[in-house]
Structures are given as C-alpha cells and as structure tokens.
Amino acid sequence: MPLLSVDELSVTFTAKGRKDSTAVDGVSFDVDQGQVVGLVGESGCGKSVTSLALMGLLPAKGVRVGGRAEFDGTDLLKLGPAKIRDMRGRHLAMIFQDPLSSLNPVVPIGVQVTEILQRHRGLKGEAARKEAAQLLDRVGIPDPARRLKEYPHQLSGGMRQRALIAMAVACAPRLLIADEPTTALDVTIQAQILELLKELVDQEGTALLMITHDLGVVAGLCDEVNVLYAGKAVETAGRRELFAHPTHPYAHGLLGSIPRLDAPRGEPLNPIRGSINDKIAWADGCAFAPRCDHYTLECLTGTPELTEPRTAGHQVRCVNPVLPPVRPAAEVPA
C-alpha cells in the first residue's frame, strides 16, 4: 500500500457573486516510501493548490475540497485543524518556493528551527539548540551555531532554502512536499539543493512530492511524473517513459518548447500557441483543445478519460494522442 494515496482530489474556490473556480479537478496519484513523484505544469495548473490541500493549508472559508487523500490509512482531508497540526511537521512537511517569505523575518533562525523540535519532539533548551545545530549541519549550513542566532535576511538565498529544508526534516517526516523548492535560486545553488533532496530521499527513505514547472528538474529527480493542465492530470508516466514518449499533445508541446542546452543551434522552438487563458471547461471537452494542434470535434464531447494508449502505467487523457514517437530518442552529444 502506498504511503500517500490521493484519489480524485478537487479544490474549488467559491466567492459570493462570482462563478466558482475549480483549481484542482479530480487529481489522483500515489506516493511510495522513498519515491519521488513530480507534479508538473505551468502557472495556474493547480499544482500548488494540490499541495496546500494535502497539508491542510487552504483557508477554511470559501474553499470546497473533495476526494480523498489517504496518508498511512488516515484521510488527510477529513482531519480537524488540531489533528492536521499534529501531522504537519511531524509526518508531513513542506518546503516552499520563496524561502524569504516563508521564514519569519523578525525571529532568529534558531528559534524557528527549535520551535518545531519543541512542538513535536518535546526537546527543550540546550538539547533543542544542539539538535537544531545538527540539523543545520546536516543540510550543509556552515558554522551552524552562529547561524542559529542570525535572522533570515542575513542568510543568502541558498542558505535560507537549506534552513527551510532543515526545518522540514527536523522530525524525520515520512512525506516531504517541495513546492518549487529551487525556482528562486540560481542554477549552481539549485544543483546543490537538488543533490541534498536526493540524498535525503536515498538515506532516510522519505517520500518526496516534487512540485515544479521545470522539466529539467523532473528529468533528474522524479520517479513518477504527473503532468497537470487546468486542474487535471493529462499524462502520468515514469520519467523515462514520459520523456522518451510524451503522448499528450500538451506534454509533447512542453518538451518541444524548451530550449535545450544540448540541442543544435538554429532550429526554431515549437511553442504551444495561445496561453493558459484559452481554455474550455473540462465538462465541455478537453481544456487544452483550443491550443492543441491535434484537436478534432471529438475533443469537444465531454471530458476525455485517462487511457493507456502506449504502455501499461502510462496514462494519457486525450482522444487524439501523439502516438508515433515524434521525438527521436535522445542523442548524446559527443
């Protein structure tokens, strides 16, 4: 049984006098121990809202959450505020995109790290401080004793993100959710942070739910990948399968529109036309149809189902999938 099993998760934002807006529209995926699962998509695809729903961080009012999210036998979505607070930090932890705005600017790093140790592990005083220093050391922050006394603004971006990771892993959580953990960082620092996450997963067997828009990060880190578009998973596959045979026109288009460091120069990119605003409701058909090069009238007759047109386990939500391998197998530059 998987550690986390999300089944038909949906999140709808409601506001008086406005149409309901569905950010997540029936997303299902599993995360196993020691596995890295990626949620990929562009802005507005619902990837961050999914993570907030799992962590119970959505506001209580104006939001309708549906579906199930079983974590080790308990449905996270049904837990009351006090119960989920006990889970958060202890069994589930999250790393946010912007380390500066997720740390309290007027409280030293040390207090922020020891807070979680007191809350969940009952460590106090010197013991908590020692443990906090060890945690900072674990994530590669030099001179942890000094850093504990410093404020977030005194740390560099990469260091702040490490501090956040230290806080997230303080209680050895079984599931770590990383929401764009490296987007705000430079590539060399990004490489450091990704290595660190990989090491955590390898050594501690933590399950990692990686939320990102960067397909390059996904290629290097994730075991399973879910590509989201307008709140629904449009393609789910192992990373090798996905990158070798992107089958949904959206996933296919995404891969075609990324300039690659290893691609020969001079070839124009193949962008997806239009923007995410050009979509139709899933109830009427495929939300991607207005931007799709493969669309037919069939695409406008109700929500397409997930099928497995290629191989078992490679799910695609499309009636006209890109079937023949259009992208040649990756060539290794000499």
């Binding site: 890295v36 030099p142 430079d186 590539v187 060399t188 290595e195 990324i258 300039p259 120069r265 530059p333």
Partner: protein, 413 residues
C-alpha cells in the same frame, strides 16, 4: 569594427554611511572591467547568476546607471562621455526590453499611448495618425491584435505584455536591443513563443541583440556569442556552440553541469560539478581570481593573488583562468570535492574567503587524498580517479554503462 564595443567598463556603486556626514565607506564592484564586442546583426548573450553584474552592465550601456570608468563605443561614439541630451538622442538607436513586463508598463497608459510616447520624444512620425499607422504595423509584427491599441497592460497575459515591451522598443527603429531577462517571467510554452519572435524580428529587421539572462539554455538557443560573467567580470567568452561543447573556465563548467536537461538518461549520466557555498559579496570581492574561493581546481599559487586576464585560447574562445591549459590537458587534479559532499560538508564559509579559505582548501585536500575515488554524482562509484580530473560537464562516457539496474529503477544516483 563592431557595432557596440565595451572597453574596460566599470560600474561601482558607493556604499554610504552616516546622515549628517555622508561618507563613502566602500564600493559595490557591480561591473569591474568588462571588455566585449557585439557585432552588427548578431546576438551577444550574457549569462551569470544573480549578483554577477549582468543587468548593471546592460543598464550602463544605455547610461541608465553612471559609468565609473571605461568606454561604451557605439557606432564610433563613446556613449560614456556624452552629455545627457546627446545620450537621450542616442537612446533611439539603443532600446531595452525589461524582465518584468507588467512592472515596466505604466498601468494607467493604454498601449497606444505607451508606444507613441517614445516616438513623440524622438520625433518619429509627423502626427498622431501617422504614428498610429506605424504602431499598428509593429503590433502586427509582434503578433498582437490591432484592437490592443486602446487597451491597458492589465488586460493582457504575460506573454502578450512582453510582446508590448518588444513593440515599444521596435517603434523607434533601434539598431541594438538590450533584452534583460526577456523570458524569465514567462511560462515555458510562452517563453518559446517570445524567443521565436525575437529571432524572427532579428532576421527581418537586422537587429543586434545583447541578451542578458540567467537561463543558459535560452541564451545558448538565441546567441551567436556568449559571455559568462562572475562577480562583475567576464570569465569566459566564446561562440555559442564552442562554449557548450567545451567550456574551459571552471565556473562555466560548473554552471553548465548544473543546468537541468529534460532528458532522464542524460541527467543520470552526466557529471555534476557542485560548487561550494554561495557567491561572495560584490562589495568585498575575493582577491586574485574572483572565483578562487569556490573553484574546484584552485591552486596554491597565483589564484588568490593574480587576477587573470581574459585571454584568447584559440578560435575566439577567451578565458580568464591561469590554469586553462593544464585543466584542459587534465594534468591538474581537482583540489575540492564537487559531489554531494560539497553540499553537505560545512567546513566551508563562503562569506569569509580570506580566513576560511585556507582551512577549507586544506580540509578538502585531505579528503581528496584520503579517498582518491570520491564518488561524484553521475559517475558510478569506483570509477577511476583520473576520470574525475579530466571529465568535463558533458555526459561522461565510461560510467554510463556501469549504472546498475537497481539505481536505475529507483531513480536515484
């Protein structure tokens, strides 16, 4: 003769302290002696991480910040010496596209007013009607509908806003467009649209671009020549393909190896050179080679004392490193770990290079001596140590086959 030539350009920002007795206590060396040439009709890409001075350099070319020293020669005129009014007139020929498309468009002006403002200032078009015709033509060129004229910036999507920013530059018929992170605020699918647009425009209008970006893949895609900046100076400059195929400066090697490639096989295979710590402060840059505090190949002599000049190493490939030849030949062993231990090892203190460096270098050497076959991510454990010293951040061939099925299945290295 190149269209745009920078000669030993320096931009230093004073750090001031005190309210009553305002005094300068130091300088931020944002751009510290950069010389480069941009040929007409070509694209020069400037890459580097945040804080390396690439944006300041772009702004200095347009004199949006004061030039401390050096020359900015555009079409035979040194812009750095022009007075304000002469510079203003020159700006018609040098335009800029900014990173944040919403922040750089006035929310209270409609598109026509935004685009016509510059034209009026530079006396392009006799009257409003003529300007409007011209604007319509440009809008069509950048792929915006004609009814955009009377709309406001907030009504557009991010990609469309960036097109407006490009149109604003184009209406003045410039020779050079400086694009500061033109696509980094956009989603991947939109990025590609804008990149293609920039390339089409260059082809049809014969534009010259100076593209400033942190995304190496984007820069490589659109540039003819790429310059890599680190802490205010160029460390390497080469034609786009040459730079990708054989980066020679250690920093470029690390930077290239850090860029994630959307290809799992390649990602698993290639060697990643992880750097120690963070970028030092440009207010207090390290002595000698600016990169020596993080360089995996740092040597005891010269690196910390002599600042390397950008020298031609053949085929227009310019590198600022004392040890390029030795590193290329593979005769120089790495002195610092570059695997995951570079991330988790905490002996290094990036901010205090002067004191901490000696300690760290010794530590690392000790580590390297003790374990000659340091496992490096991407290189299977047990790979010969000599591999590590010669490997460049391209997929290393040998270790690829040594991957065991178990690591493959788990997706771990």
């Amino acid at each position: 003769m190149s269209l745009l030539e920078l000669d030993n350009l320096k931009v230093h920002f004073p750090i001031r302290k005190g309210i009553l007795f305002d005094r300068t206590v130091g300088h931020v060396y944002a751009v510290d002696g950069v010389s480069l040439k941009v040929e007409a009709g070509q694209t020069y890409g400037l890459v580097g991480e945040s804080g390396c001075g690439k944006t300041t350099l772009g702004r200095a070319v347009l004199r949006l910040v004061d030039v401390t020293e050096g020359e900015v020669v555009f079409d035979g005129t040194d812009l750095a010496k022009l007075d304000e009014e002469a510079m203003r007139r020159f700006r018609r020929r040098l335009q800029m596209v900014f990173q944040d498309p919403l922040g750089s468009l006035n929310p209270r002006q409609n598109i026509e007013s935004i685009l016509a403002e510059g034209m009026a200032a530079h006396g392009i078009g006799a009257d409003q009607a003529e300007r409007r015709e011209k604007i319509k033509a440009i809008l069509a060129k950048v792929g915006l509908p004609a009814n955009a004229l009377s709309r406001y910036p907030h009504e557009f999507s991010g990609g469309q806003r960036q097109r407006i920013g490009i149109a604003r530059a184009l209406v003045l018929e410039p020779d050079v467009i400086i694009c500061d992170e033109p696509v980094s605020a956009l989603d991947v699918s939109i990025q590609a649209q804008v990149v293609n647009l920039l390339e089409e425009l260059q082809e049809s209008l014969g534009l010259t671009y100076l593209v400033i970006a942190h995304d190496l893949a984007v820069v490589r895609h659109i540039s003819d020549v790429i310059g890599v900046m680190y802490l205010g100076s160029l460390v390497e400059e080469a034609p786009s393909d040459a730079l990708y195929e054989g980066p020679r400066h250690p920093y470029t090697k690390a930077l290239m190896s850090a860029v994630p490639v959307p290809d799992p096989d390649l990602e698993d295979r290639r060697e990643r050179i992880l750097l120690h710590g963070d970028l030092p402060s440009p207010a207090n840059p390290p002595t000698g080679c600016r990169f020596h505090t993080r360089c995996p190949w740092v040597q005891e002599t010269r690196c910390a004392t002599d600042r390397p000049e950008l020298t031609d190493t053949g085929d227009g490939h310019r590198v600022a490193c004392h040890w390029t030849a030795e590193i290329e030949a593979g005769t120089l062993a790495r002195t610092r770990a570059t695997g995951v231990e570079a991330v988790t090892e905490t002996a290094a203190v990036a901010e205090e290079p002067a004191v901490a460096d000696v300690v760290r270098e010794e530590d690392d050497k000790a580590v390297a001596d003790a374990q000659p076959g340091l496992p490096v991510p991407g290189v299977a454990a047990g790979a010969p140590a000599s591999d590590a010293s010669t490997a460049v951040p391209r997929p290393a061939e040998a270790p690829a086959d040594e991957r065991s099925p178990s690591t493959e299945g788990g997706g771990k290295r």
